[in-house]
């Protein structure tokens, strides 16, 4: 069993590091992990769940605001949702999503419709990609615990 645990822990460590290296996560995610303990063992998962729900809601708001069939596009409305998404992605360490929001915001300010539509598509892809990655990471954690091991603290550089 120990060999299995060790293997799972190694996988977990490598996977986590890769998420940082590939820019999915930044050190705000590390900060969130500091807030997790035996008293609140699922804190990170809970916050990320809220974040992904936020993504769905805000992206839907943006899509609606960018819908030309309902009239002229209100870029400030799009911008307001982008600002919110930028904020929550920043708070959870969702680095790529946040970076996209920065560009998205600029397109909103420039009232660049095509740019906004492109960003909207990218943001949708990006948050889903992150969600999948994190689900894999949480699954590894679960497997470690089920095998009787503890989830290692991963030191990012």
């Amino acid at each position: 069993m120990d060999a299995l645990i060790a293997q799972l822990q190694r996988q977990f460590r490598d996977y986590t590091i890769s998420l940082y290296q590939q820019g999915f996560l930044d050190d705000q995610f590390t900060e969130l992990k500091k807030l997790q303990d035996d008293g609140s063992p699922d804190f990170v998962a809970e916050v990320l769940t809220l974040f992904f729900e936020d993504c769905v809601k805000l992206i839907s708001n943006m899509a609606r605001a960018l819908d030309k069939t309902t009239g002229a596009v209100d870029f400030s409305q799009v911008g307001a949702s982008v600002h919110q998404l930028k904020g929550s992605s920043s708070s959870v360490g969702a680095k790529r999503v946040k970076a996209l929001c920065v560009s998205f915001k600029e397109y909103c300010e420039a009232k660049n419709y095509e740019g906004c539509v492109r960003c909207l598509q990218q943001v949708d892809i990006e948050y889903k990609a992150l969600k999948t990655k994190l689900q894999d990471m949480f699954n590894l954690e679960k497997q470690i615990i089920q095998a009787g091991g503890i989830v290692p603290q991963v030191d990012i550089n």
Partner: protein, 204 residues
């Protein structure tokens, strides 16, 4: 741990923090940051709700919620409806609430905005995303209390964007002696520039 007020006889009284943010994610993170730093936390999603909670909305019927005195208010700047800045102003304009330290958080590092908040009486201005170290530092700053400053003349030092240069000389002796009056305007030694007396009611 049924604290009815902060005159609990334990070694360090717990701060009761009112956290105001329209983002659900940020509220959750902030709540955890504060709880882990041994604070009691109440979260609300808007400036209007904050005023209601504080009893400032003129509707005394809502005061059932308020059974714990608030020692610190941490608010986001950009919120729909009442902004953090407007909330700050309302609090500082209220004789009942003006002594409560208010901290503003923002994801945007806009100097004029920061100065505007500090001039209006904000205790600190935190850049988001807020980290555990920020909360710890903030808590130390608030717990240290210190001398009172002039109630309204907060135009003293717009450059109060103090991060780490807080003079840590102990001024607790003078603060306990003057903790009884609510509008003590004596500012003796100005060694702790950002000090604001907190009515912690921890009078032994």
């Amino acid at each position: 741990m049924a604290l009815r007020d902060l005159s609990s006889s334990s070694s360090s009284p717990e701060l009761h923090v009112l956290a105001v943010d329209d983002s659900f994610v940020d509220r959750k993170v902030l709540e955890r940051l504060l709880k882990i730093s041994a604070c009691k936390v109440t979260t609300v999603e808007s400036g209007t709700r904050a005023l209601q909670y504080l009893g400032l909305d003129g509707d005394n019927g809502s005061s059932g919620l308020k059974d714990l005195k608030v020692n610190l208010i941490v608010t986001d700047y950009s919120m729909p409806g009442l902004t953090g800045y407007e909330l700050l102003k309302k609090i500082k304009e209220s004789s009942a609430l003006r002594e409560i330290p208010v901290v503003i958080m923002s994801s945007e590092n806009i100097q004029p905005r920061i100065e505007q908040c500090m001039i209006e009486g904000a205790e600190e201005f935190l850049l988001k995303p807020v980290k555990l170290a920020d909360v710890k530092r903030l808590k130390e700053l608030i717990m240290r209390g210190g001398e009172a400053e002039e109630g309204k003349t907060k135009k003293l030092s717009p450059k109060r964007i103090l991060q780490n240069d807080i003079d840590s000389s102990p001024s607790s002796s003078s603060s306990t002696s003057s903790s009884s009056s609510s509008h003590d305007v004596s500012s003796l030694d100005d060694d702790t520039p950002s000090s604001k007396r907190i009515k912690l009611e921890s009078r032994g």
